[in-house]
């Protein structure tokens, strides 16, 4: 029961993120949506790697040998780093767009179509 609760949370976070990314009109809110999806995926990866009672695989003075392969944690760290870079780049795009257009409303940022 408790285990499935994590996956339900993951689904809810990702769906909220998708909602924000697809339906919000403020560009910063779209970036927040992307960021939420990323958090959801990271939570999914971490929860995949969780084993109740498992410890980190450090053999010196280990209390037990019931250890967890740290691959999902390593993946999550990498994914967080990539996420920071993506968010920073998207937000800097927002800054430049605001400077030239004077607005962040997606309905008014449409010079490409002209």
């Amino acid at each position: 029961m408790l285990f499935n609760l994590v996956y339900i949370t993951v689904a809810i976070v990702i769906i909220i993120g998708f909602y924000a990314a697809l339906f919000k009109r403020n560009l910063i809110k779209i970036v927040i949506g992307i960021s939420l999806i990323e958090s959801g995926v990271n939570l999914f990866l971490v929860s995949l790697g969780y084993r109740e009672g498992g410890i980190a695989p450090i053999y010196t003075n280990a209390p037990s040998t019931y250890m967890v392969l740290p691959t999902p944690q390593a993946l999550t760290l990498t994914s967080i780093v990539i996420g920071v870079a993506t968010t920073a780049m998207l937000l800097s795009f927002c800054v430049v767009i605001y400077r030239y257009y004077g607005t962040l409303d997606a309905r008014k940022v449409r010079r490409l179509k002209e």
Partner: protein
């Protein structure tokens, strides 16, 4: 000795050289601009040399594996790993190295072209750093045999290319295009990561061969279906197939000329990812007929809608971008027919030929579409507008650009003796045996392509002289010349390309068992 060392470590060096060069670029540009230009070109020439060394090795000795951090470079299953390839492994089969050859050639032509095309822009150090990072991303996606590593290179590639699309700010319009592109890429990247998480949760492995092996052993579960849907749809989106194509015209249209040419190979890196997932990872367990028809339908839609959208465009680069979508359709169609017939007798009759056509079209399109984007960049460099209605009479003064454009336009329309003809003929012939209607649609699309490029040629180069301009500088002509060389070479001698590049690639891609056996080491499992 040193030769053997370099040859054995070439998969790592292909990634390492541009990666180190990228971050050293900003240091070296402190010395002088000339030193930086030489440095960047040197890095890509070295990369190309290593790609050719590896191509030679793969052609002669079969699929090559490279294990990072192991005591020996080809130790895929070390004794302490418990039968799971836990290290990051590069698996270079003929398809991967074929893609890497395409990407590194276009990148080399693009960087030589950029030397004079971008020399009046500010922030050139960052431009070359990002350009090299984009190349690293593409090459990494093509060479890796590890799912998570694939995601990392995908993200490196997306970040660098989105930043490069925004490089010429152009009153914010380019940034708007880049914002769209970055949102689409990061959404796609996250869905790929989610799918990788699902696969990892089930099979405890990130290695593609291991995942495929275990998936075949345990059967195709519902979770696999979700992962497959996420991976195929997002990679098709990154490849610009039709219902998900909306970022392509904006991104290609606003990027600098050389970057548009490289974005074509970037989308093909995603297309390669799609083919790799369909054939190697899911090919043994999933229903390949359904997957094949999925690719065929995407392909036919892309071909037809892409070309009809292109006919009405007035911006030269947006027009070419829609043609790029349309040409991607041919590859999806060819490889899709191969996938749909995989494992049946029809595969040997015409399926393999269709795959060869699709894969041959991939390298051909990278070359001539790259060339067309470079000529469009040359026109914009001289007259400062991309609007076809404002062009005219450029043939009087830009003779070489006009010749290069003609070669590219005839190649894309599939006129002999250029390379587009060779691959399109293969696709028509083989797809006709599969389903005549698909083949007829492909031919109609080809005619519409020709019509569209006749229009561009007429409005850009013909007519009275409207602009008093000079021919573009020599480095830009050299960049275009490299691609033209391959177009004419593959057009006049398609058997060379078929024998050394295309047929090994198609055979390797259609043989997932061989791939898995190579990585997991024979019958030891």
């Amino acid at each position: 000795m040193i030769w053997e060392f370099l040859a054995n470590n070439s998969p790592a060096l292909i990634i390492a050289i541009p990666l180190i060069a990228a971050f050293a670029t900003s240091l070296i540009s402190r010395v002088s601009t000339r030193a930086r230009n030489i440095w960047v070109i040197l890095a890509l020439v070295l990369t190309e040399i290593f790609v050719i060394i590896l191509l030679y090795q793969v052609f002669n000795f079969g699929t090559k594996v490279y294990v990072f951090g192991a005591s020996s470079y080809n130790l895929t299953l070390p004794p302490d790993s418990g039968g799971i390839p836990i290290r990051i492994i590069f698996v270079v089969d003929a398809m991967s190295i074929f893609m890497a050859f395409t990407a590194s050639t276009v990148a080399l032509a693009g960087v030589i072209y950029s030397i004079s095309c971008e020399n009046e822009q500010t922030g050139q150090d960052k431009y070359y750093t990002l350009l090299l990072l984009m190349t690293v991303g593409m090459l990494g996606m093509m060479l890796t045999g590890d799912l998570f590593n694939f995601f990392v290179f995908l993200e490196i590639n997306s970040l660098a290319s989105a930043a490069l699309v925004a490089y010429r700010v152009d009153r914010g319009i380019a940034v708007e295009a880049a914002f769209k592109y970055a949102i689409i890429s990061s959404l796609g990247g996250l869905m790929v990561l989610f799918a990788i998480g699902i696969l990892y949760g089930q099979y405890d492995a990130l290695n593609m061969a291991m995942v495929a092996y275990r998936m075949q052993a345990t059967g195709f579960s519902n979770l696999d279906k979700i992962a497959m849907a996420l991976l195929t749809v997002t990679l098709a989106m990154k490849a610009g197939a039709i219902p998900m194509h909306f970022w392509v015209p904006d991104g290609y249209g606003k990027a600098p000329g050389a970057i548009s040419a490289m974005l074509v190979t970037t989308t093909y890196a995603s297309l390669y990812g799609l083919f790799r997932m369909c054939f190697t990872v899911f090919g043994l367990a999933a229903n390949t007929v359904t997957l094949g028809w999925f690719l065929i339908i995407l392909g036919v839609l892309s071909m037809f809608v892409g070309v009809t959208m292109a006919l009405v465009q007035h911006d030269i680069k947006r027009l070419m971008a829609y043609h790029s979508v349309s040409q991607t359709g041919y590859m999806l169609l060819g490889v899709g027919v191969g996938l749909a017939t995989l494992g049946t007798t029809a595969f040997n009759q015409y399926g393999l030929a269709a795959m060869e056509g699709g894969i041959f079209h991939l390298i051909n399109n990278s070359m001539y579409k790259g060339l067309l984007f470079l000529t469009a960049g040359a026109i914009i460099y001289r007259i400062g507008t991309s609007d076809l209605d404002k062009m005219g009479g450029l043939g009087h003064s830009m003779k070489y650009t006009m010749i290069f454009f003609m070669i590219g336009a005839l190649a894309i329309a599939g006129i002999p003796p250029f390379n587009g003809f060779a691959s399109k003929l293969l696709i028509y012939e083989s797809v006709y045996q599969f389903n005549p209607i698909l083949s007829i649609i492909a031919m109609i699309v080809s005619i519409l392509t020709l019509a569209s490029f006749v229009k561009v040629f007429h409005s850009a180069f013909m007519g009275p002289k409207r602009y008093d301009v000079k021919e573009v500088p020599l480095p830009m002509l050299v960049g275009m010349g490299i691609l033209t060389f391959f177009i004419i070479l593959f057009g006049l001698f398609p058997n060379i390309a078929m024998q050394y590049l295309v047929t090994p690639a198609a055979t390797a891609l259609s043989d997932p068992v061989g791939y898995i056996t190579r990585v997991l080491g024979g019958g030891s499992l």
